[in-house]
């Protein structure tokens, strides 16, 4: 796991930032979280999808932000251009005989049991895939040298076709990148304005299909992202803009413009960073064990942090593998808008269809006919119409419509209206629990040791149920769960990472440690150079190794020491055995261990001071509710629960469930047996 600071630069830059702005551009709203001199301001603006910078500019003007402020931006430009296939006209150049690797993929069909299925269109079409006569073998020897004339010929074709971007992927370039570099240089000389991505730079790791796709994705989104960021820089009166990556760290605009694929899965990253940093500011980092639970309208994102934010290189976007570091987030198609239905076998189901924002749940009273999870929350008393509908809405009509639709569903499964509503919630919860199992139990973590952090519009409503089913005993409801993503951006560290293929056994490396030391040193130097160029002088370096038993195909990532010598190599071998035992319940100490890749992370910690809060102990005070509501926990009888208003709570306040906690962006249900305590940061701990 990365980000264990192991080395600090002597060129320490101790000056803290004083002002930082996080901007999260969503489909409907653009969220702003502004920290200045210890105080926080939060605003929302309607998004302007035709040019997102308009909404950003509006927010900046409203907040009267100075040019010296650092702006951290989370953008879905890369993601959307992939989902909508609106990227640049991109060419792919491969080794001779392999231009179809991108089209064949891993040769499996998407659906196992379907006689007619939609063909998957490769990101780069047949007419834009080209081959060059070159070949390098698995030891890096050149079998067939590349001919520069052939490259020049190809350049003519590419120019004629008005290609906007180029990806180059040759076999075994992760061992010997010479041909990729040469091809890039020759082409760049002839086509100076075209971006060229080479696979040995984007992802120097084995497996040609995954490397090809990742490189192709980068080329495909790069011109779009670059244009977007240039426009942003021009429009905004701010000098220092940094961009959120899928890994949860930020990079400068230049780097983001070149390695645009790093942004592709950054959407849910801000929330996880926000949750992690919030807890880290209260606890020692090693003790931070949390599961983030971000439940939105159509899907739920779940991630686990145990001492640090866990990362993975097995991302997927628009049906394609993206092998760059991402926060290890598991997504399921269950959210507030998920539609409930009864299938042919008589089982009650929720999703994956969603009522979306339009028409939305039945209770929105916009002609929606299908019961959704949100409607079930309403019928069972967890939500009230006045929580989310404008005051002038027709409440009686909305209530009657929802009740009627629930009745229809109830008849199908032969249950009462209330029992059906509770059933919809249970089924939706089961889906989300499966996501939590994925990131916890299936990775060898016991969820009972973790704190659940719910956010997103619907997360806090379901948190207690989910926690009870997973036997989790602690929930933390952060102060502003509705803008956690933008909050996370203000807290994100600046990071870069670079990997390099090693492909050697531990025995071999013990014989000759320089075979590991040199490549690690090389990429470390490159990273340090990049940071210094961006005027970042205070950073830490950490190294991780992808390891496996010789002969296996999947690697475990293990932290590595900063010094490469026989002792540290022996240590990391032991750490690998232990990790394998923990993950897969067996180890094989007699088997040779192989180090597949080394990855170096460089990180400049976000030095923004936390909110200025008093640290003195505040006496506990039991608060009383402002109102009451009838909630159905089981279908026999309703329970009267108290309603608390978040804005009236102060540090030290405590109260007991069953209760509802209402705030402007979400409603949290606290079940019987849980106790709520407001801490000094005005975050609420819900424990049992």
């Amino acid at each position: 796991m990365p980000n264990n600071p192991t080395l600090s630069s002597p060129l320490a830059n101790k000056k803290n930032k004083t002002e930082i702005l996080g901007v999260d551009v969503g489909g409907t709203f653009t969220d702003f979280v502004w920290l200045k001199n210890g105080s926080t301001k939060i605003i929302k603006e309607l998004s302007t999808p035709e040019d997102p910078s308009k909404a950003i500019l509006k927010g900046i003007e409203k907040l009267q932000i100075s040019t010296g402020c650092e702006l951290i931006h989370g953008s879905t430009v890369a993601t959307n251009s992939l989902l909508e296939r609106q990227g640049a006209k991109t060419a792919l150049i491969t080794s001779k005989g392999f231009k179809d690797v991108l089209a064949i993929g891993r040769q499996n069909r998407p659906k196992l049991y379907s006689l007619e299925q939609e063909a998957f269109a490769p990101l780069i079409g047949d007419d834009l895939r080209f081959e060059l006569d070159e070949r390098i073998d698995s030891d890096g020897n050149i079998l067939s040298a590349i001919d520069e004339d052939e490259i020049r010929q190809l350049a003519k074709t590419l120019k004629k076709m008005d290609v906007e971007s180029i990806a180059i992927v040759f076999l075994f370039s992760f061992i010997n990148p010479a041909h990729e570099i040469l091809t890039k240089n020759v082409l760049q000389g002839l086509m100076p304005d075209i971006n060229i991505s080479i696979s040995s730079e984007i992802l120097p790791e084995y497996r040609e299909y995954e490397r090809s796709v990742t490189t192709a994705i980068n080329s495909y989104v790069q011109p779009v992202v670059k244009k977007y960021l240039e426009n942003l820089q021009k429009q905004l009166p701010i000098n220092n803009i940094r961009i959120m990556q899928s890994s949860g760290g930020t990079i400068g605009i230049d780097k983001a413009s070149r390695q645009a694929a790093r942004l592709a899965l950054s959407g849910p990253a801000g929330g996880v960073v926000g949750a992690f940093k919030a807890v880290k500011s209260k606890k020692h980092a090693d003790k931070v064990k949390l599961i983030t639970f971000d439940m939105g309208g159509t899907s739920t994102d779940v991630a686990l942090c145990s001492g640090n934010i866990s990362r993975s290189s097995e991302g997927n976007i628009a049906g394609m593998p993206l092998r760059l570091p991402i926060i290890d987030i598991h997504t399921v198609g269950a959210g507030g808008g998920s539609i409930a239905w009864v299938d042919r076998g008589g089982a009650l189901r929720t999703g994956p269809q969603s009522a979306g924002a339009n028409p939305g749940p039945v209770c929105y009273n916009r002609k929606g006919k299908n019961i959704t999870v949100t409607d079930a929350n309403l019928i069972s008393g967890r939500l009230a119409l006045e929580d989310f509908l404008p005051a002038e809405s027709n409440f009686p009509e909305a209530t009657a419509n929802t009740s009627r639709a629930m009745q229809t569903l109830a008849t199908k499964i032969n249950k009462s209206e209330i029992a059906t509503a509770l059933g919809v919630l249970k089924v939706a919860n089961a889906k989300m629990e499966r996501a939590i199992r994925r990131v916890s139990i299936e990775r060898g973590f016991d969820p009972r040791e973790f704190t659940l952090i719910p956010f997103g519009g619907a997360g806090p409503m379901h948190a207690c149920d989910i926690a009870e089913n997973m036997e989790i005993n602690c929930i933390l409801l952060l102060a502003n769960p509705g803008v956690l993503s933008a909050t996370g951006m203000t807290m994100a560290d600046s990071t870069m990472d670079k990997s390099i293929a090693i492909m050697k056994t531990v025995d071999k490396l013990l014989e000759k440690p320089t075979l590991l030391e040199k490549p690690i040193h090389l990429i470390q130097q490159k990273l340090e150079q990049e940071f210094k160029q961006s005027k970042i002088f205070n950073y830490s370096i950490s190294t991780e190794l992808d390891m496996r038993y010789l002969g296996q195909s999947f690697e475990l990532t293990v932290n590595f020491s900063s010094t490469v010598d026989r002792t540290s190599i022996k240590q990391v071998e032991q750490a690998f055995h232990a990790e394998h035992l923990e993950r897969y319940s067996f180890k094989n100490e007699n088997s040779a261990v192989e180090i597949v890749n080394a990855r170096v992370w460089i990180k400049a910690e976000n030095t923004m001071p936390p909110k200025s809060i008093s640290t003195q102990k505040i006496p506990k005070r039991q608060v009383s509710a402002t109102n009451q509501r009838e909630i159905w926990f089981d279908s026999d009888k309703a329970t009267t629960v108290e309603i608390f208003k978040r804005e009236t709570l102060e540090a030290g306040d405590c109260f007991y469930g069953p209760a509802l906690l209402v705030q402007y962006d979400t409603t949290c249900l606290i079940k019987k047996g849980w106790k709520c305590t407001v801490d000094n940061d005005l975050d609420i701990w819900i424990k049992r």
Partner: protein, 521 residues
Amino acid sequence: MMDAITLEIYRHRFNGIAEEMGLTLKRTAYSPNIKEREDFSCAIFYGTGKLVAQAAHIPVHLGAMPDCIEKTLAAIDVWQENDVVILNDPFEGGTHLPDITMVSPVFLDSDLPDFFVASRAHHADIGGMTPGSLPLSTEIFQEGLIIPPVKIHQQGVPNESLLKLILRNVRTPDERKGDLSAQLAAHATGERRIHDLCEKYGKKEITAYATNLQNYSERMATAAISSWPDGSAVAEDFLEFVDQDELKLIRIIVKITKADDKICFDFAGSDKQGMHALNAVRSITKSACYYVVRCLLDDDIPDNDGCFRNVEIITEKESLLDASAPHAVAAGNVETSQRIVDVLLLALHKLMPDKIPAASQGSMNNLLIGGTKPNGKAFSYYETIAGGTGAGAHKDGLSGVHSHMTNTLNTPVEALEMNYPFRIKRYQLRGGSGGEGKHRGGEGVIREYEILLPCTITMLSERRETAPWGLCGGENGKVGRNILITTEQEEIILPSKFSRGFKAGECLRIETPGGGGYGDF
């Protein structure tokens, strides 16, 4: 008493366990065939042997896994905690010898097993006359080590002698040992999860819902089958058997009868079993029938015993599709199964023309390369190659994918070349191989191997003579070709099935069949 809500929750619970078992197996396995190509399945069975949940990557395991448990239950008298049974005997619950199955009982609180967890993985070698253990055999004894259902772990104690015996009979013992450990790790995961469920919800509830889920699938299947038109239809198709350079076609014929909510597949009249490796045990015939039915059911119906209660399958004993010992069966699983699907689809097309597509490539193009590395260690490599799928009434076929009874991934060229003494020179779509039509058949693939050290190559392929058929005026897909390219660059067409030595510097080019087209063009 079944509850619509709890039912849905248990679907997630049981499927989650089977999937997690599969994940463990994949991540800890050693042979490319399991770890890269996912040629395996994991499943949970009720104590009676009925399937509860299966994480199937490979349709050919669909009907065969339940048969396997049935045979294992018949063979093993006493089950004890922490036993693990191993088997590959095609006549005792297996399909062909490389598929090694393990079965473990799960005891909740009684003396008899309440559940079983099982895994089946295709191992890259299990001995026999040619590397990869899919030889051109005439009786089963040539195909490798036969393991009847026996305990490899007895009450948690590994039977080291048995393991020694197995490993001594295979070409790549280290890899086998690793893969077997991976299967055991998957079982440990499955058992632990079932115990967790029991602790939390009680045995009564989880066993009740294991049954309820099966009944649920049955209701889903009944509803679907009832909606198909009643009637009966007959179709036939052929396999290619090369006997001393002479092509002999082997016939498969089926009569399908659909009435109300029942469907019957009667294979009477198909050829007898023969002295070749294309014989299939009945489990495979069942898998092929189940696969076709499963494709016509709703997408997300849970795979369990209930899905196929309305399906009747009639085979004649000692026929090609219900072979008996000691007949050779190596290719039954991988090739005959594909042709059974073709025959079924051709017949079903007469009943529901707009739901059934033209023929797909109809082969798995099994390629096995074995020999000795410079360091003296034996190697054995197995892969199957994608092709085109048939076009349908609404869409074109897919290009360069596996069809019907398999869906294994390819081995990355870079993974392969780092581990074996051969090189891939081309890996491309085979343009023009898909049949023309209103909708076009998918394209086959060209994969060319350059051999760097002397080795033995065995190829089991089909549709080298009889083309994947088009439908409703669509053209046939192109037949496949296996081509030897000598060191003098001479091209020699090899038959659909061969086993021969290759010299260093020789190349083998496989061109896989395209899918049939659909509709006039």
